[in-house]
């Protein structure tokens, strides 16, 4: 029975991890660059939600109304003003730029908010649970997180398949030079894609802040989880993040069952196993490009 409970918890945890991975899968899938500041942006999102809830007196979930458009704009600006400047020079500039940004965000958060751990509050939502058996209940918030991911994935799938902009995103991922011949400016596409990724990061930040407490230096750990999700699910595969998140979550809760010290470790081992057996992940989406 313990194994069953651990699996259920792992799946629910996987919902949050899938959210971590989603924004990263989006940027990698479309721009083929990695954002080392992804985890720090999530934590930044949590802190911004904290500020919005305090200043406007809104509940945490309602802060998304402000956060999503703000983060979209920020992502677009970041891509167009910073990242686009070093396009076409290989992977190193994007790694260095986002690595630098990561350190900047961590320390700016530290200087602004101190190293204290913070929490977001959503009142009863965080304590509500649905009893499955007499001695086992699942939390409403984790279940909600999982549902949010699923809804986001369905929406993104529709967007990529059935809208012109979505198709333009995919075409740009295939070949950013040829799309220009179709009248699509890849730089603009990249800006919009980063905006979209940041909007998802805002959602991720709020849900993370509701689930756990957070501090300025929590970003790198989130980034590792996000990477593991997309490595397992397949780099650049949007739909793969759900299965990636669930596998990572279950691996961690199973490891935890053996020994609490193995919680993160077993997730890493699962990731390395996938890398050893199928380096392109379980559901590779993007096509190899030179």
């Amino acid at each position: 029975m313990d194994i069953f409970y651990a699996s259920v918890n792992g799946v629910l945890l996987g919902g949050l991890y899938a959210l971590y991975g989603l924004g990263l899968a989006l940027t990698f899938g479309i721009m083929r660059t990695i954002n080392l500041a992804h985890g720090d942006m999530i934590v930044f999102g949590s802190f911004m939600s904290l500020v919005v809830t305090r200043v406007l007196g809104l509940p945490a979930l309602a802060s998304l109304v402000v956060l999503i458009p703000a983060m979209f704009l920020l992502g677009r600006l970041f891509q167009e003003r910073v990242m686009n400047r070093s396009l076409g020079e290989g992977i190193m500039p994007s790694i260095i730029l986002t690595f630098g940004l990561s350190v900047v965000i961590q320390n700016a958060l530290l200087l602004t908010f101190s190293a204290d751990r913070q929490t977001l509050s959503a009142g009863q939502l965080q304590t509500m649970s649905l009893p499955l058996t007499e001695d086992f209940a699942i939390g409403v918030l984790p279940l909600m997180t999982l549902c949010v991911v699923i809804v986001l994935l369905i929406a993104l799938n529709w967007f990529f398949r059935h809208t012109m902009l979505g198709r333009a995103f995919r075409a740009t991922s295939d070949d950013p030079e040829v799309v220009a011949l179709m009248g699509i400016d890849p730089r603009r596409t990249y800006g919009l894609a980063m905006g979209l990724a940041f909007a998802i990061i805002a959602i991720t930040g709020v849900f993370m802040g509701l689930r756990t407490n957070f501090a300025p230096f929590d970003g790198p750990a989130r980034l590792i989880f996000a990477f593991e999700v997309i490595i397992i699910g397949g780099m650049g595969s949007i739909q793969g993040v759900l299965i990636g998140g669930v596998i990572l979550g279950v691996a961690q809760t199973m490891g935890n069952l053996v020994n609490p010290a193995f919680f993160q470790l077993s997730g890493h081992v699962a990731t390395l196993l996938v890398l050893a057996i199928r380096p392109s992940g379980l559901f590779p989406e993007t096509i190899e490009r030179d």
């Binding site: 012109m164 995919r170 040829v178 220009a180 179709m182 699509i184 400016d185």
Partner: protein, 232 residues
């Protein structure tokens, strides 16, 4: 009447290497221009400068308007479409999606997805297939259809017969005839000189980045063409 396309002393460089040395060329509406020349003569480079893919010196006019230096992604909306060498479809997109992307700028005109499938009926059963899975001939058809979707005034076609079986080449050139009949101005690069001469209203032969011969196909002798091609 102004020319639809005119090039005045166009130059282009790859790093220190100068690939084009002052190309002057013009095309009236409805004309079909064939660019011929040996490998490395600058044909593809010229096409890339016209569609804005490569920065050019000199001046390029479309409908009498100077378009030099305008980036490729804005020229599509102004009426230039390109069928690039090697097809260059979007491999993970389906045939339908590839053609739809071609119509991204929503230029009004007679071409639509239905019209493209009328032109290439063999694509209909492949509509839902990814471009990755198509044969070379089918890929070429999609590439042409994709370019037509923007209803271009000027259609650039680079090596559309390369690597295809003769029967497929015939099919493709039948389609080219229909596109010409619809009044689209075409500039095409063709390795097969005979093929190029048969569709062209005007031929430009390039040699080492310069125009070595130009004229109407009927006016050019085989000897003059061979000399211009090989630079004798």
């Amino acid at each position: 009447m102004t020319d639809l396309l005119s090039l005045d002393g166009v130059t282009a460089h790859y790093g220190l290497f100068q690939a084009l040395h002052g190309i002057t060329l013009s095309a009236r509406a409805g004309e079909t221009i064939a660019l011929v020349g040996a490998n490395g003569a600058g044909k593809t480079t010229l096409m890339r400068t016209i569609c804005g893919d490569l920065p050019a010196g000199g001046r390029i006019f479309l409908h009498g308007k100077d378009i030099t230096g305008i980036p490729a992604h804005r020229l599509n909306a102004m009426g230039i479409a390109m069928v690039p060498e090697g097809r260059k479809l979007f491999p993970s997109l389906t045939v339908d999606e590839n053609t739809q992307i071609g119509g991204y700028t929503k230029r009004p005109g007679a071409w639509s997805r239905e019209a493209v499938y009328d032109l290439f009926p063999e694509l209909i059963k492949r509509r839902a297939n990814k471009a990755l899975d198509l044969s070379g001939g089918e890929q070429q058809m999609v590439a042409i259809g994709r370019a037509l979707m923007s209803n271009p005034d000027l259609l650039l076609m680079d090596e559309i017969s390369l690597g295809l079986a003769p029967i497929v080449v015939n099919q493709i050139y039948e389609a080219v005839d229909k596109i010409r009949a619809a009044g689209t101005t075409i500039v095409l690069v063709e390795q097969d000189i005979g093929r190029g001469l048969s569709v062209a209203t005007h031929v430009y032969c390039l040699l080492e980045g310069r125009v070595s011969l130009e004229g109407k196909p009927a006016d050019l002798s085989q000897k003059a063409l061979t000399d211009a091609y090989f630079g004798v």
